[in-house]
């Protein structure tokens, strides 16, 4: 099986108001293609730093990072932007949709920077929104939608450039428990059906148990790395949830 992420001795040191902060103190991690990985840890443990490095938003101070075999740890800002654009998709806790633009335009955003043609942009946005079940909402504004729907738009946006990996930073952090399961089922679906590698940060045990592997981070080090033998199936859970009419999409 191909390897998506290979981290070797990643260290990250920040300087914050005169004091040095060691956010990563030597992290080794290998993630094979198609894995669904949860990173857990208390706040300040360094899990966000780890996700930012994996997401090519940040560069390690030391160590090597191979993304699909390519060393990306020393690339320039512009090269990293291109990698984020083509290979990675991001899902955030706060959705981060552009409030004054339509759902369709939000989903098309990554394609603008990829230089995709007009008609192809239209087709791919429709396809991605169809995949998350929001075909009927193309011209809605994010403010007219529920939190769960907004997060689906964000997932569609992450999908639209056909990335090999999706990074989710507390994707259910702002949602109620039923909607959280709903979003997890969408994420599981894109991992299982599309084979996209998923790396997500969460501090909820319930949510992490939907993944196939959980690593725990403390003080900038990985302190445990466990396989989840019988991971939860969000779609089945959802069926068991009491149906609330208002929540039906």
């Amino acid at each position: 099986m191909k390897t998506t992420i290979k981290l070797e001795g990643i260290k990250k040191v920040y300087q914050l108001g005169g004091t040095l902060i060691h956010a990563a103190r030597g992290i080794d991690l290998t993630v094979p293609e198609g894995e669904m990985l949860a990173i857990m840890g208390a706040s300040g443990s360094g899990k966000s730093t780890l996700l930012n490095i994996i997401g090519c938003l940040d560069k390690p101070t030391e160590g090597a990072y191979y993304l699909e075999g390519q060393d990306v740890s020393q690339l320039s800002k512009t090269e990293l932007a291109s990698i984020r654009n083509k290979k990675l998709g991001f899902v955030f806790q706060g959705f981060n949709l552009l409030g004054r633009t339509t759902v369709k335009a939000n989903v098309q955003l990554p394609m603008i920077y990829a230089g995709v043609g007009k008609s192809e942009m239209e087709d791919r946005a429709r396809e991605a929104l169809g995949w998350v079940g929001l075909s009927a909402y193309l011209n809605h504004l994010p403010s007219q939608m529920s939190g769960g729907q907004q997060q689906r738009v964000a997932i569609a946006r992450a999908l639209v450039n056909n990335p090999s990996m999706i990074l989710a930073d507390e994707p259910t952090g702002a949602l109620d428990s039923r909607t959280s399961v709903e979003i997890m089922s969408v994420i599981q679906q894109l991992n299982w059906e599309k084979g996209i590698t998923v790396v997500m940060v969460t501090h909820e045990e319930d949510i992490a148990l939907h993944c196939g592997r959980i690593i725990r981070v403390k003080d900038g080090r990985i302190i445990s790395d466990t396989k989840v033998t019988n991971s939860r199936n969000a779609a089945e859970e959802l069926a068991a949830f009491p149906v609330d009419d208002a929540e039906v999409v």
């Binding site: 930012n52 920077y113 230089g115």
Partner: protein, 406 residues
């Protein structure tokens, strides 16, 4: 990412916040329209002054006798009698001359019946009418026959008519006396109003130059030759050829001072034009300051906009926007704001100066030059004042930007 995409992104940004965009543009709109209105007022004033000068007759050169020089004492201009009818005829034979008319003048008491009036009489030739572009309301101007036969005929200006014929009778064919000599009125001139210097141009009587010289003044010299050039461009070279012609005729060596002088109307117009150009520049400068303030307003709003949209910038970077993509987005946005504002300002400025001339009756003149100037200036303002905020936006760190709380 090409310019067209940048333009779309920028237009979406502007559309997403219409009120703020409109207020931002307001500074540029006011600045540009002020520049256009101010320049059009300045140019209008300058045009009306030059028109006024031209109404005295266009492309004119005035040849007058020079000052008398006796040892160190120099007399007043025109004090020597050196210009003759023959000089005038010789000048008229030069090329590039449309018309040339000799003049002698004096002051006289005019009388018709019991009414009297003191005015100036000018002895001249028929060419004077063409030079001054002065039509008659009734009768006709002097003829060549009047000049060659030195007949006693007179053409009256409106002020003279008003004072000699208070009853409103038709002056044509009536007899008047000029310094006791009897004349027949053959024409009445149209009203011309007062000159720039406040002189009443209608307070005048024209009689044949020969009559004036022989019967009124008894002199062989003329006091002025008015020359009209064919075009304005040749006036300087014409001035030179008249000078050398007269020097030759008057037998004056090139190192001696001429006994005549030539006044060039083009020089007068140039002086007036350069004065009003200074005025125009001053007005435009004041308006330019408001354009500058408008530009600073744009920078201000763009800086606020960058702060307000920090998360958006972070997100754009996360999904693959490079620093230059972000910089161009904000730069194009500022540029579009300025250009839209500039365009609206041009429309408003043109409409405003038209309104001023229609309603307030100010003379304004709209030329392409201030329009191009302010269009270019507003684009430059956009780039100049848009660059700093755009650079700030591009320098943001995506992680920090995504974490930014409003």
């Amino acid at each position: 990412m090409n310019f067209k995409r940048n333009l779309e992104v920028a237009l979406n940004g502007i559309k997403a916040n219409k009120m703020r965009s409109a207020l931002t543009m307001l500074g540029i709109i006011i600045g540009v329209s002020a520049v256009i209105i101010m320049i059009s007022i300045g140019q209008g004033a300058s045009k009306s002054i030059t028109d006024e000068i031209s109404s005295m007759g266009s492309n004119m050169l005035m040849v007058r006798p020079g000052a008398e020089q006796q040892g160190p004492v120099r007399g007043a201009g025109g004090s020597v009698n050196t210009l003759t009818m023959e000089d005038a005829e010789a000048i008229a034979k030069l090329g590039m001359i449309a018309n040339a008319a000799p003049t002698v003048s004096g002051s006289a008491t005019l009388a018709h019946g019991s009414e009297t009036w003191t005015s100036q009489y000018n002895g001249t030739t028929p060419e004077m009418q063409t030079i001054k572009d002065w039509s008659t309301t009734s009768g006709s101007f002097l003829t060549d026959k009047d000049v060659s036969e030195a007949t006693n005929v007179a053409v009256l200006g409106q002020t003279v008519v008003k004072n000699l014929y208070p009853g409103g009778t038709n002056p044509i064919g009536t007899k008047i006396r000029i310094n006791k000599l009897q004349y027949t009125v053959v024409g009445v001139l149209a009203a011309k109003g007062s000159s720039m210097m406040g002189q009443d141009q209608d307070d005048v009587v024209y009689i044949p130059v020969t009559t004036a010289m022989r019967k009124m003044l008894g002199q062989k010299y003329i006091s002025q030759i008015t020359v009209q050039a064919e075009t304005q461009e040749i006036m300087d070279s014409l001035e030179n050829s008249i000078e050398s012609l007269l020097k030759e005729r008057h037998d004056i060596q090139s190192n001696e001072e001429a006994d005549f002088n030539i006044r060039n109307q083009a020089e007068l117009i140039e002086t007036v034009e350069s004065t009003s150009a200074v005025m125009t520049m001053m007005l435009a400068g004041v308006a330019g300051v408001s354009l500058l303030v408008g530009g600073i307003g744009i920078m201000n709003i763009m800086l606020v906009s960058v702060t307000e949209r920090t998360r958006e910038i972070g997100l754009r970077m996360a999904v693959g926007a490079t620093d230059s993509n972000i910089r161009n987005q904000f730069l194009v946005e500022a540029l579009v704001l300025c250009m839209l504002g500039g365009f609206t300002g041009i429309l408003l400025g043109v409409a405003g100066s038209m309104l001023l001339s229609v309603i307030a009756g100010w003379s304004t003149s709209i030329t392409i030059y201030p329009i191009l100037l302010s269009a270019g200036f507003s684009a430059a303002v956009g780039i100049f004042f848009g660059y700093y905020p755009a650079k700030q936006a591009a320098a943001l760190d995506p992680i920090e930007a995504l974490r930014f709380e409003k």
